[in-house]
């Protein structure tokens, strides 16, 4: 039997010297831990709201890389209206991230749209999953309006929407339906279409 295999006891477990050392070690570890996490808390990223902060970031980018027809944005500083259909968490994050910002000299305005109410004119409409509205229905309600229809439910871009948020691995990517964008009179910059997965409309039987 190789003596090195034996676990040699460290000053007998019951001795006061051991207990003091153990307490000191534990206390310093705990203090170090607390200090570490306190100093690292500056990087706020609550997992609860992180999802919608990321999507708000995306919406800002959509405003940057999509062109609306002149009729929708007559002046050089006409505001870009971002409508949020339902979803308290989504609204909070989008308001916090977009309010007061400008894109190409145009101020961003965030508006709430009720799920079962009339859809007032907006340039970007984000349909939150708690709105419970199918993409096709919203598309129908919008008619010919030059609105960038964005959603997060399954196959949103394939069934009437223009951009759908999709969960890939553990992050969020986008599906983009160029045909739907053209039908709405919108032009999507190559910068945006290059990072999106391009999808086509799926026809119902």
């Amino acid at each position: 039997m190789n003596p090195r295999d034996l676990r040699t006891p460290w000053p007998t477990p019951r001795s006061p010297r051991f207990q003091r050392r153990a307490w000191l070690a534990a206390l310093s570890a705990v203090l170090a831990l607390l200090w570490a996490s306190w100093s690292l808390r500056a990087a706020e990223s609550s997992s609860l709201a992180l999802e919608y902060k990321v999507k708000a970031g995306y919406l800002f980018n959509f405003a940057k890389f999509v062109e609306w027809p002149t009729a929708a944005l007559p002046e050089t500083n006409s505001p870009i209206v971002v409508g949020v259909m339902d979803g308290a968490e989504a609204l909070l994050a989008i308001q916090q991230q977009l309010q007061g910002k400008t894109v190409n000299h145009r101020p961003l305005q965030v508006k709430t749209i009720a799920a079962d109410g009339p859809i007032t004119a907006c340039h970007i409409l984000f349909v939150s999953r708690s709105a419970g509205q199918a993409a096709a229905e919203v598309r129908q309600a919008l008619g010919q309006a030059a609105t960038l229809l964005v959603g997060e439910t399954e196959q949103f871009a394939e069934r009437g929407g223009i951009i759908g948020f999709v969960r890939e691995e553990e992050s969020f990517r986008i599906h983009l339906n160029l045909e739907a964008a053209t039908r709405a009179g919108l032009k999507v910059s190559a910068r945006l279409s290059s990072i999106a997965k391009l999808v086509k409309t799926k026809r119902d039987n």
Binding site: M1, N2, P3, R4, D5, L6, R7, T8, W10, R21, A22, A25, A26, S28, A29, A32, L33, W35, A36, S37, W38, S39, L40, R41, A42, A43, E44, S45, S46, S47, L48, L50, E51, K53, V54, A56, G57, Y58, F60, N61, Q96, Q97, L98, K101, Q155, E169, E170, S171, F172, R173, R191, L192, I195, K202, R203, D204, N205
Partner: protein
């Protein structure tokens, strides 16, 4: 021969450490790491914030991020920790997720490859089966029943030996895996049997994820005449039906030359096995779902030639081989009811059979004869689970599970001259009921407490609680204090295997574990995640095989051993632009047998992993590097086997040619000759592992 210290005690320097690590040293080291890491992390934190984005309304400004950066932010979730989807930081366990992207970028061929890259885990291979060690416990001769392996929540462990299948014998092709959730810690409070050291939940891909028009064809070619092929069809139709069908085949001639070193401890003279390591496997998977109802089934069969002699079989005998077959069908229904109720129900039927063929030398006058082992198990069961959120603060989950083992059949006989040693069938049943409450005491303080009662017709009842306090003092940190109890029920093999050499034991009780753990999870500047854990496991009543009393000296299983494991782990993950990412981990575990005061055999004190993905062409081609390090281990004969460091490299690309994924991998790049300790049931002390091998793989999506 080179790997072992000489039996008369000459000390050999272990890999990387000259000192015996002790508990005190561990704590001191963790403290100093924190003190050193803090200023670095703080600097990195402020630097990245200053460089990347100004602060807006007290929160990070996401509008200043590029599209690529937004697409790389991770919000990870796990399903298996509380039997519903939740963020990892809210799970009452230390969790690691391995995604399908990891599987492609690091060239993982089997579940064993996947698990070998995970913090604190290590896999041992005996040229027949793979055995998983978590946190220092991987006893030689045991079959792997101390980790529960699930596919979509369905138990994969079979009831005869409790084994789980981790190599090409795993009945699911790794290409069908969406992600693997490694949930450390006792899970019997929800899952019952086998959720001892942890649960591994394999989640499969959905039908809509397959290809563009739904067809995927894949093929690979590798070292030693290894071929594989897969054909999958998957789609989600406009009427809402989702379908996934897949069939795979694998074949390999295996390692053509395996050198088994001699052992003075066992008296084994050494052997060279040529051309007898081949295997072939085929598996099928099918899943149909519609509106919350899923019907799923799989079938897998793996045949392997055995180059060594388990259970004292003759070495170099071409007749040593085995095959395993595992299949099941399951119907499950998941539905949201009004008033915040959610119900999940499942019913299943399972099948397992195995056939081992061994050539034994019985001496004169019989000489060499062929012995066969053919167990068969079939079982059916169901589970109903209801959960509801009460008063916005409590998420209550209640479940009942019942299982009837129609048949547990064990048979062992000599083919010629025909002698039957064991031919036993029995049936048994078990029922379980569990309850779990996730109590949101404060907005950032949650108590997750659960308990499960199980009754087995074989040994009676067992109750296993679990409790976890999860605290998020500020938004990027999570602290968890966890306690859990779990059990492993004695299986058919331990109860009943009875013949000339072995005696069954119907008085066996389950093994138990009490586990205490502290976890700290920290997000740093959006793209780093640090996890740190300390754990203490008390394992009792380990079922161990020993020589019986003088009145009946046949080998018999008894609840004799108890083990204490103390340790800790550290892991850091980072993600940067264009798919650049890295993950490094280190785990220390000291597993001691309480009877003898000695370290357990096959237990490395230090296990380190490193994975690094570097984009070669942004978003299209990547190089994946993996480093796996393990410190010295003891063999079953108590000799020291030195540690090893292995390196794997994979080049992976997608969309280079339309719809085509190509990868080229080299495993054990430096051709390190290493061994794993063999079970005491074998004549040899060490099993040689593979040197450098390669694999080229193509996948075409239509």
């Amino acid at each position: 021969m080179k790997n072992k210290s000489s039996p008369n005690g000459r000390i050999r320097r272990r890999l990387g450490c000259a000192v015996d690590w002790r508990w005190r040293d561990l704590v001191q080291h963790i403290v100093s790491v924190f003190c050193l890491a803090l200023p670095a992390a703080h600097a990195a934190d402020t630097a990245s914030l200053a460089g990347a984005a100004p602060v807006v309304n007290g929160s990070e400004d996401f509008t200043a991020m590029s599209l690529e950066e937004l697409g790389s932010i991770r919000v990870p979730t796990v399903v298996g920790a509380s039997k519903h989807e939740q963020k990892i930081t809210e799970a009452p366990s230390s969790v690691t997720i391995v995604t399908k992207q990891d599987i492609k970028e690091y060239g993982y061929r089997t579940l064993a490859d996947v698990l070998n890259g995970v913090r604190g885990l290590y896999v041992t291979y005996d040229r027949g089966y793979h055995f998983l060690g978590i946190r220092g416990v991987n006893r030689l001769g045991d079959f792997g029943g101390r980790t529960l392996i699930n596919i979509n929540g369905h138990r994969v462990n079979e009831p005869i030996f409790d084994s789980s299948f981790l190599g090409y014998d795993f009945p699911l092709d790794v290409d069908l895996i969406e992600r693997v959730e490694v949930i450390r810690g006792p899970g019997s409070s929800l899952y019952g049997n086998n959720a001892f050291f942890g649960i591994i939940n394999v989640v499969t891909r959905s039908g809509r994820d397959i290809g563009g028009k739904g067809v995927e064809a894949s093929g690979s070619f590798g070292q030693w005449d290894s071929y594989s092929g897969r054909f999958s069809y998957g789609n989600k139709f406009t009427n809402g039906v989702e379908l996934l069908l897949s069939g795979s085949y694998y074949e390999s001639a295996g390692n053509p030359k395996l050198v088994f070193p001699p052992s003075s401890a066992t008296g084994f003279p050494g052997a060279v096995e040529r051309n007898h390591d081949g295997q072939s496997a085929r598996n099928f998977f099918a899943s149909v779902s519609y509106n919350g109802l899923t019907i799923e089934g799989l079938y897998g069969r793996r045949d392997k030639e055995l180059p060594n002699g388990p259970y004292a079989a003759e070495f170099n005998d071409g007749r040593n081989k085995l095959w395993d077959e595992r299949a099941y069908a399951e119907v499950r229904y998941s539905h949201d009811l009004p008033h915040d109720y959610h119900v999940l129900a499942r019913a299943y039927f399972d099948h397992y059979t195995y056939e081992g063929t061994f050539a034994f030398d019985y001496g004169a006058p019989i000489g060499l004869a062929v012995n066969r082992d053919t167990p068969l198990a079939q079982w059916a069961g169901g589970e109903i689970q209801v959960s509801k959120t009460l008063w916005d603060k409590h998420r209550l989950t209640l479940g009942v599970e019942g299982r009837y083992d129609l048949e547990q059949h064990q048979e062992n006989f000599d083919v010629s001259p025909p002698v039957t040693y064991l031919d036993l069938s029995k049936s048994l049943y078990s029922v379980g009921a569990y309850a779990q409450d996730e109590f949101r005491i404060l907005k950032n303080l949650t108590l997750n407490a659960g308990v499960r009662y199980d009754f087995f017709s074989t040994f009676g009842s067992t109750v296993n609680p679990r409790a976890g306090l999860i605290y998020e003092p500020w938004e990027s940190s999570t602290f968890k204090a966890l306690y859990g109890q779990a059990y492993r029920a004695p299986n058919a093999y331990e109860f009943d295997f009875d013949n000339v050499n072995y005696r069954g034991n119907n008085d066996l009780k389950p093994e138990t574990i009490r586990s205490y753990e502290l976890v700290w999870e920290q997000t740093i500047a959006q793209n780093y995640r640090l996890t740190s854990t300390l754990f203490y496991d008390q394992v009792e009543d380990l079922i161990t095989q020993d020589v019986g009393p003088a009145t009946d000296p046949r080998l018999v299983f008894n609840n004799t051993d108890s083990v204490d494991v103390k340790g800790g782990g550290l892991e850091l993950e980072g993600h940067w632009k264009h798919g650049f990412r890295a993950r490094a981990s280190y785990t220390f575990a000291e597993a001691v047998d309480n009877e003898t005061g000695r370290l357990l055999e096959n237990s490395p004190k230090h296990v380190g992993k490193l994975q690094l993905t570097m984009p070669i062409y942004p978003e299209k081609a990547f190089a994946g590097f993996e480093l796996i390090a393990s410190s010295a281990r003891q063999t079953a004969q108590r000799n020291e086997l030195s540690g090893h460091v292995l390196a794997n490299v994979t080049l992976f690309s997608h969309q280079i040619a339309r719809n085509l994924e190509v990868s080229a991998s080299v495993y054990n790049v430096f051709d390190k000759k290493y061994h794993d300790p063999a079970s005491p049931d074998f004549a040899q002390e060490l099993n040689p592992q593979d040197g450098r091998t390669f694999r080229v793989k193509l996948t075409y999506k239509f």
